[in-house]
Amino acid sequence: MNLLFYISAIVAVVSTFLVITRTSAVHALLYLIVSLLAVALIFFALGAPFVAALEVIIYAGAIMVLFVFVIMMLNLGGTAATQETQWLRPGIWIGPSIMCLILAVELIYMFTLERERLSSAAEVTPKQVGIALFGPYVVGVELASMLLLSGLIGSYHLGRPHKH
């Protein structure tokens, strides 16, 4: 369990360093997803499974899809096809794939060999998080909904085409 944390931490730091040093946005995005998955595994090892799932679904899923959309939208045109083949040539996948493999092995190890230690009393369950969210933090949830609405309206307003 201890070693799992440190391996995930090393993967997170290395992939984050590779994110900020890449020149191509798509390559950086691949490493950023690896970094987020590593952090999700750390959450899982720390006994926060709900937050680990949210990290994968919302950060590595929804937010990264937004990035991919925008990067693809900015590269429309005749050269797009050649550019995409250049981005996604086989060598690019090796780095992120190796790191993902390390994380996958860790996850399988956690589920098979450390199962009894995972179900320890110190784990904070999703139920407790939900009770806290709609108990003492209900005002925060309402404010978060307003923030999301303002984000929606703001991005709609900014994304409209210019009136000339």
């Binding site: 931490a9 997170a12 900020i20 949210l54 950060y59 900015l74 984000g151």
Partner: protein, 107 residues
């Protein structure tokens, strides 16, 4: 007394990891001039802060850290949607993703 998390990791190590990730994100914001990379670095920083919250919550076995992480997640989602709309506007106006192109204000 050394304070341990569930995974028998000292809390300091977790917080050091969060600090390293935050510093990498900050370095990305400062060093890169491509606005997409700057947004990614901001995401890294937000994620590092969320990691610090969850580690602190796990140390005391409280839910508050995870609740704060969910709020940070919400904020990151709103921020990235507005930020990417700004990226599209920048690109349509200046035909480049370099933030230094947008260094002057109107008026």
């Amino acid at each position: 007394m050394e304070r341990l998390l569930i995974a028998n990791v000292p809390m300091e190590h977790g917080l050091i990891l969060a600090a390293i990730l935050f510093a990498l994100g900050l370095a990305g914001v400062l060093a890169r001039r491509n606005i997409v990379f700057m947004l990614m670095s901001v995401e890294i920083m937000l994620n590092a802060v969320g990691l610090a919250f969850v580690i602190a919550g796990a140390r005391w076995g409280q839910v508050d850290g995870q609740v704060m992480f969910i709020f940070i997640l919400t904020m990151a989602a709103a921020e990235v949607s507005v930020g990417l709309a700004l990226v599209l506007q920048l690109y349509h106006t200046f035909k480049t993703l370099d933030v230094d192109a947008a260094s002057t204000m109107k008026g």
